[in-house]
Symmetry: D2
Subunit: 242 residues, 4 copies
């Protein structure tokens, strides 16, 4: 399966930010590295610098699942790219939005809501509970797993009620957050997964990697919609004539 990882890749290039030390080659590279160790996954990457060339209708047609990480530069992603991503999801491509991508253009377009939350950077420990242990995304996890430090995200999370809430996060500072949420949108599966602040080595965590591997396989389309007409006018149907 083909996985495409978008990362704006801004924090990590700023030597004054922790991210430069934690992810010297960028978050996208860290994720691609552990995904490419899987025999069934072929992961490639794209960053803001070449987003318009890297995320095209043709590329998305070959992409089973798109992962998206963005934070500072959501607005610099062209509307056209966000529209292509939305369209590809509706046609069946899986999409996984990571951490601060809750405010990315394609996620907000797919949700239709403000996707607001409360937050704080204070090195809280996060304990992520599995609230839907039967869900494929949670396969192989214990009751919970912990991240020694994460950015705190808290409710209310301004999203449509998820089809399934797979994870709920607990923070030492006193917050809770629906940390893993699944939606069907058109033919495509959408997942939001909260951990992944750029200052912490979250994407090197074995449990986080397990979740991302699970999610990517869950979001892979069984089939895609092709050459579909929008709002077709159909004659009175009789058996066999469609």
């Amino acid at each position: 399966m083909n996985v495409l990882i978008y990362n704006e890749f801004v924090h990590e290039k700023d030597p004054d930010q922790k991210a430069a030390k934690v992810y010297p080659n960028g978050i996208h590279t860290a994720i691609a590295d552990f995904l490419n160790r899987e025999p069934d996954i072929n992961a490639s990457t794209v960053t803001l610098d070449n987003v318009s060339e890297g995320i095209t209708k043709e590329v998305l047609a070959q992409t089973d699942v798109l992962l998206w990480w963005g934070h500072m530069r959501h607005d610099d992603v062209p509307d056209e790219v966000a529209a292509l991503v939305q369209e590809a999801v509706l046609n069946g491509m899986g999409a996984v939005f990571l951490h601060s991508a809750h405010k990315s253009k394609p996620f907000m377009r797919l949700m239709g809501t403000d996707c607001s939350l409360i937050w704080r950077e204070s090195d809280d420990m996060e304990r992520i509970w599995v609230s839907a242990p039967y869900h494929p995304v949670a396969a192989g996890l214990d009751r919970f797993f912990e991240l020694p430090a994460e950015e705190t995200y808290g409710e209310p999370f301004g999203i449509p009620t998820p089809d399934e809430t797979v994870f709920i996060g607990w923070f030492t500072g006193g917050e809770v957050f629906r940390a893993g949420c699944a939606w069907q949108r058109g033919w495509g599966k959408v997942f939001y997964f909260q951990p992944g602040h750029e200052s912490y080595p979250t994407y090197f965590d074995p449990n986080v990697q397990k979740v991302i591997r699970n999610t990517v396989r869950w979001a892979k389309p069984a089939c895609r919609r092709e050459d579909c007409m929008d709002c077709p006018c159909l004659p009175k149907a009789h058996k066999g004539n469609l």
Copy 2:
């Protein structure tokens, strides 16, 4: 309560179209007329001609529920207006999308999907079944009601799974359609109601009028969100300090 009815008002001004005879003063006027007979409802109207002046942040702040009818000229509604409507819904305003408004900008923004359907103009009779008889929108209806002629709409309807499917339509031509669908989006209630083709006197039908009255009252916000900050950064919380 204040209800604002948007109608693009294009078909009805074209003397070559049936709509000019059925709704000589426009669909918006027909709807406003029966709503204004209710002591608790104050209905006003706006059309495409003055949409930018008529649908402003200030107007929407005073609007409890917005009804929307559009068909030919969805694209001529400015993106800014669609964004204002979306924002108002997320802050609590109710919104009711009628018939071909399934492809209107504000509805598509709130859904995040393509809102596609199949359709045909062939004077089919429609029988609208109540699938959620307990829902306030269905109050006072029998098991079903009929419209002697309606435009045929059919599944699949490209929407996120509704929170509740209140009506399912049956057409003599052989189609079915989720004719009444409810969603919560942010603080606001959203309803889609399928009947209402411009060539038929649907909005004069007593049952359709009953549904619209019910829907408007159901969608009225109990409270609205005001001056809320998007994604506020909050300190570690202690009781009483928020």
Copy 3:
């Protein structure tokens, strides 16, 4: 509106248990007391001792909303009573299940699942976050409220995905829990509200009382189903003949 409060009333009569000091007249009396201060609410009570006489078809037909507290003696509630409660909910009565009532017969019948959870008695403080601030049950609350000590409940909670998750609880011991969950079942509204261990003065807490007042009003039926036939055989329908 008529509210009926069921409490098994076992813990509070045992002088060796804290509950006897916290609720000397029983949890039901504590709840009835603050509800009966409301001009629109007429609250009465029933306990396990007279559950078969106190919860009859006739009584439930006059009850708008039933509150249910049980823990030690779920099994002693007759199946017939649980069946009557379930039937009344399906016909429109609201039902609010409190704390350990997650394992009560009527709640389990309405859910169809095992309603399992994890738990611990260790005097954890609980902070209850509002995850659906627009919901009538959360009206008048701040972002969260705290209970100095509660029994710890944790995920996974073995319930069908709620229609809406209004509250999520955070416990000092490290657990999270969907503390307020809403479902439609038949014509009736069902709510589960987690706080309320018998050893703590939870039902004297102003925020808990506010939630219960809100919930009772939200769950009040707008209409009830009466004399309905189960699975009626209907002739081919023609307009007006139903």
Copy 4:
């Protein structure tokens, strides 16, 4: 995968009923026959006559998906058997309820509602529309398929809102019905599929067979819950100690 097909097998043994001619060996045999043609499926059957010996905890533990057909003799299925089926589903077994099994004990226990509907035997043609074309259960189907004659079922269907409504049926007599509905219950997947009246050769229809093959594969558990404790009391958790 192991599929177990329960059929009460009453109609087909009555020489005065059409079913005896349509399904001389019983509906269960007809279904087992086409499923056993699949290399990945091992289908066996059980009938009311030996339901207590045929549906045990041990048998269900080896069953991936259970299909259930019943009509006249729902009440003769022991409560113990229905409880075992419910428990097995909550632990991960898939369950598919066919046609009149909407009133079977295990389905009603899993739903928690009355599962009422309207019905009529009048040889209506049914056209079954795919409302969720992306769903695995609909794979390989056209927009709709038709059954020349089926028992008419109609809304309202007294079920909890399905997680997904995959099919909606249209009947020549004027009814509509949510003909394919999916729910998650505990760790198990549940599907209701409406066609299958005993008087018609529905289970010989190629599209119906395709749906049942799809459904069985969709409902197959990826994993099962084993030896789980109900409501475990857990100590304060620290990383790694669960």
